[in-house]
């Protein structure tokens, strides 16, 4: 007879891990992106046909620079969370799955950082 509670065996084996926080992070970033997409649509409308000086001035404005950074960071984060689920669902090979997960994370961090630095450069005029 085992006196160990079945729950103790389940803990830290799969579904008792980080699923809930991942779920919330995906929803939290989704709600933010609903509002940021409204800004994005306005910004894209203003940027169509804009010259380099006009586009740089728009994204260099403190408010629009802040919105652009929030959009890129929230977008890349939300995309990383989504791609993670897709990769976890469809890849059978543990090696390929792990490699893809690491690649997506690295690319997200690099892409997000590049965009943030580019927008800051426009906003700070350096």
């Amino acid at each position: 007879m085992r006196l160990r509670n079945p729950l103790a065996n389940a803990h830290n084996h799969g579904s008792a891990g980080h699923g809930l926080s991942h779920w919330w992070a995906q929803r939290f970033s989704a709600i933010g992106l609903v509002f940021l997409t409204v800004w994005l649509l306005w910004a894209l409308g203003s940027l169509v046909g804009a010259s380099h000086a006009e586009a740089a001035a728009l994204l260099g404005h403190p408010f629009h620079a802040a919105m652009a950074i929030l959009f890129v960071v929230a977008g890349v984060y939300h995309g990383q969370l989504g791609l993670q689920v897709v990769i976890e669902d469809y890849f059978d090979s543990h090696l390929i799955e792990t490699t893809a997960l690491i690649a997506v994370r690295f690319l997200s961090i690099i892409g997000g950082l590049l965009a943030v630095i580019a927008i800051l450069k426009l906003a700070l005029g350096v």
């Binding site: 929803r27 649509l41 380099h52 989504g82 791609l83 059978d92 892409g111 965009a115 927008i119 426009l122």
Partner: protein
Amino acid sequence: MVTDNRPLSPHLQVYRPQLTTVMSISHRISGILLSLGMVVVVLWVLALASGPEAFERINSLLATPIGLIAMLVWSFSLFYHLLNGIRHLLWDAGWLLDLRGAYASGWIVLAASVVMTAIVWGGLL
């Protein structure tokens, strides 16, 4: 992969495609496309920060037929993922979970995505 004899879900191929299932996988596909689009967004912002020459170069790339088609697909994916994402959030809140609500909201999302894409591109042309 471990090949034990655990029961399998019924194969997807035996099901007739339904609005709900097609929209479910389309949400994932549009999300993947938007992630690819984010690469272009990052490159575009980098080009803008690099100066007028790089800015002209990426804009002329986007103005090619392939670039325009990519932006058309991107804009539809954006509207679809945005509206269907709101539909998912409503489901998470416990709304529209009956068959009627799921189908009605599905058709609304599809129609609104097409209309919004048409409005954006109609305004540009």
